[in-house]
Amino acid sequence: MGDSQYSFSLTTFSPSGKLVQIEHALTAVGSGQTSLGIKASNGVVIATEKKLPSILVDEASVQKIQILTPNIGVVYSGMGPDSRVLVRKSRKQAEQYHRLYKEPIPVTQLVRETAAVMQEFTQSGGVRPFGVSLLVAGFDDKGPQLYQVDPSGSYFSWKASAMGKNVSNAKTFLEKRYTDDMELDDAVHTAILTLKEGFEGQISGKNIEIGIIGADKKFRVLTPSEIEDYLQEVE
């Protein structure tokens, strides 16, 4: 195919007008573990599978959902190390914003700056795009917000979204289940059910991760026992 000749260099467009490296990056995301986010009327929930390569891995040390500011959290699908770099940069940008303007960074601003970083890596020499898509969940003066940022640097605001392996089934499930007046607890239940759809094996508090932010504007990751409680409610 003509495109394959243009897939080695990132900074070259293919004849069909695509940057093939970004397409490949999206493929990397698509083969990553499922993650999803749901925006409720009074908060946001983000969740992901935490499938570890072996039972010997100390799962308490693995944390996929990270906090960026006290009121913004993020989850990823794709390459973990790439997400760590982005989380580090985003935290620094949020802190720099706070130092300059003495107000907590609005969610849209942080998303925009993170997306700008990801875009830089699609237009520079000698670098490759990030192999992650991020779901950023935050609660600021404009209310609860959920954003997805792609390797190309484009970002979208979602009411509910999923990324990774089971994305089409998960999105269909979410489309059916989502209502505008959903509350945070309902959203957590829906998130768990969506993850359960494509889950191989027994779902438990130890192999999924859930982060929530409510009207108190404090992002936190749920403990495995809290997840177990929600799982029992869902049963």
């Binding site: 960026l68 935290r91 620094k92 802190e95 925009r112 979208f156």
Partner: protein, 273 residues
């Protein structure tokens, strides 16, 4: 003709390139702008459950009191506070910067910040600037290893002490501490001793004055007592109010409150592919 631009790496610290020019300007009659100093009394002491910091609230610009109620106890971390003496801008900027660095550090480590971390960051920054950043600090906090109290001098040296004073009123305050400090003070005794030390600075040092600010830090809890004591109230306020001479022209007697104009802009932030 090829232009060769040599990219010099930033050396850090201040650049003194303009000093010669400044000397020339002063010689030609230019008055250098003065800076705001906090001729100050700041103190700290360790009591049985933690640390108490205290400060006065006067900021001076030479012989003039520029701010009668400034805040000299700065936030560094939820469990660490810092009193600052010296140039007001320097103390504020340096504590702000280190506070920001510690916030990032907390995200990366997932742990509560330690006082020694703040101490190391502050002293290495001040040392890099060779004393030109005129900030003398009393740093106190309670972390996982216990309560800590340190003093930091503008050149970057530090002391670790059970009780400390800094600023122009430090001698007056230290006199109080040396005579009345003992180990194992309770919270109320500690607060009273700190207040007494600051009051001694307020009344006996010209560079210190107005009110007493106190901050009590214990394990997992902080109490910021802004204006804990106000021993210098404005006693005489005329009941007659102010009157203007008949020659004063009154332009406007109507007060129009400002109304917020809310504009709804169509289109949002969502990007198009």
């Amino acid at each position: 003709m090829s232009k060769v631009a040599i990219d010099m790496p930033p050396k850090g610290g201040f650049s003194f390139d303009l000093c010669k020019r400044n000397d020339m300007l002063v010689k030609n009659g230019l008055k250098m702008p003065s800076f705001l100093k906090t001729g100050t009394t700041i103190v700290g002491l360790i009591f049985q459950d933690g640390v108490i910091l205290g400060a006065d609230t006067r900021a001076t610009e030479g012989p003039i009191v520029a701010d009668k109620n400034c805040e000299k106890i700065h936030y560094i971390a939820p469990n660490i506070y810092c009193c600052g003496a010296g140039t007001a801008a320097d103390t504020e900027a340096v504590t702000d910067m280190i506070s920001s660095q510690l916030t990032l550090h907390r995200y990366h480590t997932g742990r509560e910040s330690r006082v020694v971390t703040a101490l190391s960051l502050l002293k290495s920054h001040l040392f890099n600037y060779q004393g030109h950043v005129s900030a003398a600090l009393v740093l106190g906090g309670v972390d996982i290893t216990g309560p800590h109290l340190h003093t930091i001098y503008p050149h970057g040296s530090t002391d670790t002490l059970p009780y400390a004073t800094m600023g122009s009123g430090s001698l007056a305050a230290m006199a109080i501490f040396e005579s009345k400090y003992r180990e194992g003070l309770t919270r109320d005794e500690g607060v009273e001793l700190v207040a007494e030390a600051i009051r001694s600075g307020i009344f006996n040092d010209l560079g210190s004055g107005s009110n007493v600010d106190i901050c009590v830090l214990t394990k997992g809890h902080k109490e910021y007592l802004r204006n804990h004591e106000t021993p210098n109230p404005r006693t005489y306020v005329s009941e007659k109010g102010y009157s203007f001479s008949k020659k004063t022209e009154i332009l406007l007697t109507k007060i129009t409150p400002l109304v917020e104009k809310i504009e709804i802009i169509e289109g949002g932030d969502a990007m198009e592919e």
